[in-house]
């Protein structure tokens, strides 16, 4: 079991040293810009900029390629269908759509995955995200790995009893039952976790120690990202 983001956050990089609160603020402004851009050239500039941030984050090649592969796989149908339907215009739309999606993924990775997940959650709470949401995010992140462990154990158990995944009714019903059992176990575990939290005085409010320290560079970084985002949006509007 590995905490994927936390393993990445141990990579020393200029981005990893920035206060996560300022990184989240920068992410918010850059995502707004990514969603507002219409001109494909401006989207291309944003993509180049986000790739620069990813380079600064010093992620491993394997990590990046697997994420890129997943995103490209998701957008592959659009890249095929849009040009067939709309010719050259559709082709440009498909390119713009994919570039925008990649920009968003790169920005999110560079600005979120360069801090330990717990710090990101605390930072989100510190900048005003409701504690209910941050707590749900933290618990989901925590327990998805336990569920994966449960699933791996159940999979080993059914394989040990001769199960082979084939394209037949028996395989599908077995997978269905395993998934159902996993959900039941999740519900039971959720109840036990709730009991454990109640025993330690949890009353629904998320309290965290804020150990963040803002440096001048953090502010400059956030302002710079926001300025780039604003310039892109203004340029996009002027071109239109």
């Amino acid at each position: 079991m590995t905490l994927a983001f936390d393993a990445l956050a141990t990579i020393d990089s200029p981005l990893a040293r920035i206060d996560p609160r300022w990184k989240l603020a920068a992410l918010a402004s850059s995502l707004v810009a990514a969603s507002l851009l219409r001109d494909s050239r401006m989207v291309a500039v944003l993509l180049a900029f986000s790739m620069g941030l990813v380079l600064a984050a010093r992620f491993t090649r394997k990590f990046l390629l697997t994420r890129l592969g997943a995103v490209l796989l998701f957008f592959a149908p659009f890249a095929i269908i849009l040009p067939i339907q709309n010719g050259v215009t559709g082709f440009y739309s498909a390119i713009t759509l994919t570039a925008r999606a990649l920009s968003i993924i790169f920005l999110a990775l560079a600005l979120v995955a360069t801090s330990p997940f717990a710090d990101v959650v605390k930072a989100a709470q510190a900048i005003g995200v409701p504690s209910l949401l941050t707590r749900i995010a933290l618990l989901s992140y925590r327990y998805v790995f336990l569920l994966a462990d449960d699933f791996a154990r159940m999979r080993t158990s059914i394989i040990a009893r001769g199960f082979r995944n084939r394209t037949n009714r028996h395989s599908y019903s077995t997978i269905g039952r395993v998934t159902g059992t996993l959900f039941v176990r999740s519900a039971e575990r959720a109840e036990r976790v709730a009991h454990a939290m109640a025993c330690r005085g949890f009353d629904g409010r998320c309290r965290a120690m804020n150990g963040f320290h803002t440096r001048l560079f953090d502010i400059v970084f956030c302002v710079a990202i926001t300025a780039v985002a604003a310039i892109l949006v203004i340029s996009d509007r002027l071109i239109q």
Partner: protein, 244 residues
């Protein structure tokens, strides 16, 4: 509080919705500082009893007093975490933060303590369980015995006067069990230990409650109860090897 550490349970009955009663008229008293073993077959109601005493499950039938507080009353139930700590059977249910520090700090933060006091309690609790320096570690990557000790540290950081331990030796290897045994003897306060590990009960508890089908069927000195072959056999248990 003058009666901190005392427990008094009279006629406690509890049922889960749509099920037969899990506890039926449970009655006992425990004085401050006593270490009591809670034994019985699976499904006897041991965990349910702990959850009722800790104020997690709503009690309607019976009179309870835990450290002078009545878990049935919402105002008093809210104060229970200040006095009562529960170490759960599966440490994974109890460890839900991303670092050991955050997990141990979870309880003290909920008590509204200052950041300095929280840090001091975390350091002290981790030192007590022999895990100083583990603060930045990820709890889910620890060994079973270490997880158990982090879970215990999280409870000790709240400085409870009553400690409920649910199957504390399960998932532990012999070394982890030995370390836990030595640790528990050093921790002051009232302790109730629910377990199937009767040798552990023999080593830690002065008194034993035998629970079956939600009823207390025996209450007495540890050796006297555990050595009673007829009683043990009648309730699906065995005399521990060291008493044979």
């Amino acid at each position: 509080m003058s009666n901190d550490g005392d427990l008094s349970v009279v006629g406690l009955t509890f049922s889960y919705p749509g099920s037969a009663p899990a506890l039926r008229g449970v009655t006992f008293e425990i004085a401050a500082g006593e270490v009591v073993g809670l034994i019985g077959p699976n499904g006897a109601g041991k965990t349910t009893l702990f959850l009722c005493l800790a104020g997690v499950l709503p009690v309607r039938d019976g009179r309870l007093s835990v450290c002078g507080l009545n878990p049935a009353l919402p105002d008093e139930r809210r104060k229970l975490p200040l006095h009562v700590g529960v170490v759960f059977q599966n440490s994974d249910d109890q460890l839900f933060n991303a670092t050991v520090f955050d997990d141990v700090a979870f309880g003290p933060l909920n008590l509204g303590l200052s950041p300095d006091e929280v840090r001091s309690r975390v350091t002290e609790s981790l030192a007590t369980v022999g895990l100083s320096g583990f603060e930045p570690r990820v709890p889910f990557h620890l060994a079973g015995g270490e997880k158990r000790r982090v879970a215990l540290a999280g409870v000790l950081a709240m400085r409870p006067s009553v400690l409920f331990l649910d199957e504390p030796t399960v998932f532990l290897d012999p070394r982890g069990r030995r370390e836990l045994l030595s640790l528990l003897t050093k921790i002051p306060g009232t302790k109730m230990i629910a377990t199937h590990d009767l040798e552990f009960v023999l080593a830690t508890c002065t008194r034993v409650l035998l629970l079956e089908s939600g009823k207390v069927v025996a209450d007495g000195q540890t050796r006297a109860i555990l050595a009673d072959a007829e009683l043990m056999d009648a309730h699906g248990l065995e005399v521990p090897p060291s008493l044979k």
